[in-house]
Symmetry: C2
Subunit: 139 residues, 2 copies
């Protein structure tokens, strides 16, 4: 049975579910940032997915990339680059980060992890960002 | 025409070619670390690949993960975790990092990028690491 690690609700807001992944908006207004969590029990690495699941995951990563670009546009800060990563060193449950980057963002050109502190969304902006992500994802 | 960005030879050694990707060993003995570079002109994002190329890339990422584990074993430091990332903020040519991590490595639990300075391989270790990677990749 799939159970979401409690670390995700502490750091992100639900966007919706695709065929494989639960999608969340990272609660950090510095970066347009979605997190994909395959709804599979005990998955920690891409190795833990079957081939069909990996193909589906790749498709959902692409869709999440388009959704991140839509979130960035909704925040009036178009993304120039995507960063995609599966790390899991802190939270082991398999999840994929899809992040929009700009050359004027708070971490550029470094990766975003560990750079400064998350800046919470203004509630109206969070609602806009989630709506943009859902529309782009067809949710 | 595919041309390798000169940044790669400055920081890594060639391992060989899979069907889609050129594979390199990152010249940093602190981490078992392969870099996959799809041999496609002008690709910068996963969005730039066709669906069949993305499926092939996912398969090669899985194979690279197994090869990273083989490199780690050859260095007598088995990997406990894989980190997989497509960033490209500094070197724009599309490439995917596949890195083996341990809880006692120099960056844990942070991502490896920007942590300290690369530690060059002893030449004998580099040869062992590349041989282990090639064997695991069937090259």
């Amino acid at each position: 049975m799939f159970l979401l690690d409690p670390a995700f609700p502490e750091s992100s807001e639900p966007v919706g579910d695709l065929a494989l992944c639960h999608v969340r908006l990272q609660a950090d207004a510095r970066f347009p940032w979605l997190v994909l969590i395959p709804r599979l029990a005990s998955a920690r690495e891409l190795e833990d997915l079957g081939e069909a699941e990996r193909t589906q995951l790749m498709a959902e990563i692409l869709r999440a990339g388009a959704a991140v670009r839509a979130v960035a546009l909704a925040m009036a800060r178009p993304a120039a680059k995507l960063n995609i990563a599966q790390l899991g060193n802190v939270t082991a449950q398999l999840h994929i980060h899809v992040i929009g980057r700009r050359t004027d963002d708070d971490a550029w050109p470094a990766p975003v992890w560990g750079v400064g502190a998350a800046r919470p969304y203004d509630p109206a902006d969070a609602a806009l960002a989630i709506a943009a992500a859902r529309a782009a994802l067809g949710l």
